[in-house]
């Protein structure tokens, strides 16, 4: 009981401190699942952290803990962050969901932001990017550019996020190239450069001349460069890993959101909410097209990007059947976010099965 008192006293003290002394810097903490040098997921979150420092200068103090395992360790690290006087804490991996909610319960005055999750509380917001929108654009380019009509896809774990990306990319490619085929390798890891490289080679062996990935390391990009085929950057631009291979990229740009939320805490206007932003607000950014993408393809890709941004186009617009042929969306119909968030099936035309 004494501890509980201590914790609430500390939390209270810091809560008061931030409002009473305006010149006290706002303390923002980040918990990363990988090393900040992964050049993918955690790297981009850390770029967002640096953007906060840039934007607010002396008015903020940011800290981070990297390579924090999901589960019990995360709960301890987040608690330590809350205890050490952070005002706002971003936890940037799905596996931090329960730990974040548990800690948030004990620190009502600290604000928490959990990426890619679905559990919220008065002091816990959730946020994520509509990366499937970006997949529509790169799928479109891939459909145009493939000569073998085989696109290779390196997938991590069979979660809705990944399945959504596969479906979105496939639909966009199929729309411009009816003969296109998607070959998928599930590597069951987010980050294992050697395994990702081997998977890339296996897909190339199977005739793929364009690679997409939903894993975190730039290994596939370097293999594509070596083998003289094309690929797309994932999470970060990855241009330096495949100057010739890279056609474009889907970049996670967390900076605008992170700056806005930090500002909200400073202004005292922070509220719990669920954000799922796509291309329009700039959370999902399409990297520059390489010179290998023909002008007309660039133009049509831009049209898709702008259509999605304007809301006139949706990555999943009916008629779409599920893989087994049962109708999913009627002509012109688009799914609501609830359906998208729990997607656990392939659309018609994709071969293979989702592992289960």
């Amino acid at each position: 009981m004494k501890l509980l008192k201590n914790i609430s006293a500390v939390a209270l003290a810091f809560g008061l401190a931030t409002s009473a002394f305006a010149e006290d810097p706002t303390k923002v903490g980040f918990v990363y699942v990988g090393p900040i040098g992964d050049f993918g997921w955690s790297y981009e979150h850390d770029q967002g952290r640096l953007a906060i420092e840039e934007a607010f200068g002396d008015k903020v103090e940011t800290t981070f803990a990297e390579s924090v395992p999901e589960g019990a360790d995360a709960e301890r690290v987040i608690t330590q962050m809350a205890l050490s006087g952070h005002d706002l804490i971003f936890t940037t991996s799905f596996g931090y969901m329960d730990p974040t909610v548990n800690v948030a319960e004990k620190f009502p005055d600290v604000k928490f932001e959990h990426a890619t999750g679905f559990k919220r509380a008065d002091n816990v917001s959730t946020y994520s990017g509509r990366f499937y929108e970006g997949r529509s654009v790169i799928g479109h380019i891939a459909g145009h550019m493939t000569k073998s009509n085989v696109i290779g896809y390196i997938a991590s774990y069979p979660i809705p996020e990944v399945i959504r990306g596969i479906n979105s990319a496939y639909l966009a490619a199929k729309a411009v190239n009816p003969d296109v085929e998607l070959k998928i390798v599930w590597v069951f890891t987010w980050f294992d450069p050697a395994k990702e490289a081997d998977a890339a080679k296996a897909l190339i062996e199977q005739g793929a001349d364009i690679l997409m990935q939903h894993t975190d390391s730039p290994a596939a990009m370097t293999i594509a460069e070596e083998e003289g085929i094309f690929a797309f950057g994932q999470a970060s631009d990855m241009k330096q890993f495949g100057p010739k291979a890279r056609l474009s990229s889907i970049i996670d740009d967390w900076a605008p959101y992170y700056i806005a939320r930090t500002q909200a805490v400073m202004d005292g206007t922070w509220e719990s909410m669920d954000t799922w932003d796509g291309i329009a607000p700039g959370m999902v950014v399409i990297g520059d097209y390489s010179d290998d993408v023909p002008e007309d393809v660039q133009a049509s890709a831009n049209a898709i990007k702008e259509g999605i941004a304007a809301g006139t186009l949706h990555s999943f617009t009916g008629p779409i059947n599920k893989q087994d042929g049962t109708p999913w969306l009627a002509a012109g119909e688009t799914p609501d976010d609830g359906v998208l968030a729990t997607m656990d099936f392939y659309v018609e035309g994709i071969e293979g099965e989702i592992p289960q």
Partner: protein, 310 residues
Amino acid sequence: MDWASLSIVGMLASLVAASTPILLAALGETVVERAGVLNLGVEGMMISGAVIGFIGAVSTGNIVFGFLCGAVGGAALASIFALLSQYFLTNHVATGLALTLFGLGFSAMIGQPYVGKKPPPISDLSLPYLSDIPALGRILFSHDAVVYVSLALTFCVWYFLRRTKTGLILRAVGENHDAAHGLGYRVVRIRVLAILFGGAMAGLGGAYLSLARVPQWTEGMTAGAGWIALAIVVFASWRPERVLLGAYLFGGITILQLNLQAAGMTLNPAYLSMAPYLMTIIVLVLISRQGKQQNSHAPAALGRIFYAPR
């Protein structure tokens, strides 16, 4: 699934690339263990070799220099192990595990500024004429130089252990250090040299990862390759020729399972990913069974601490 789309030639070619890092590291560890030292720090030495080799290659633009740096880096880490295990008489298992921890952290620290850099390209030797032979040409004669070096090293290690006097002494030290000491051999010196050689080989294997197989540096990129190398040494019952077989078998099954998936095999990939490990166990059981009469046991002094009373 589409069996016809599986390209045996292509798989065999990528098998070699996937197997070379573990082959190099396992060869080095074979010599170490034959000398009676159990160094479980292969993962740490590999990743240090990967980063130091990468730094060497990137800062000079010379890939050969990079590989040399990788070997030196691995040996440098191994020297910590040699100092502790041979002079401070620490337990081999614990020291090796600590070395792995240290290597993972150390490599991440010094590699920080090199994340995202591009190493100079490694060119395939593509032996003239030979590499044009259909199928065989691609499987056998169109790899980078390090692959051929690793094969040559396999032969050298075999020759050294089996056919040279020094090799015989090294094995004697590994079987019974007290007797070897009694005969006047410098047990500690031989072991230190073996440990350094093992480190250099692990470092070379690591450098192959960061310079050739996945030409980039990322933290933690060995992702367990060092542990596989250790397993292969035991699997090979401490014989270099079997190390080659083991490394290629292991690499082969890994490549096969990814290709099976790409070709449309619909089993949960998690089960397919178990295959290399299960196969290793099965083959080990088969070897151990028929090897009961033969000489397939571990070096008798493996992991035992040597202390020479004055």
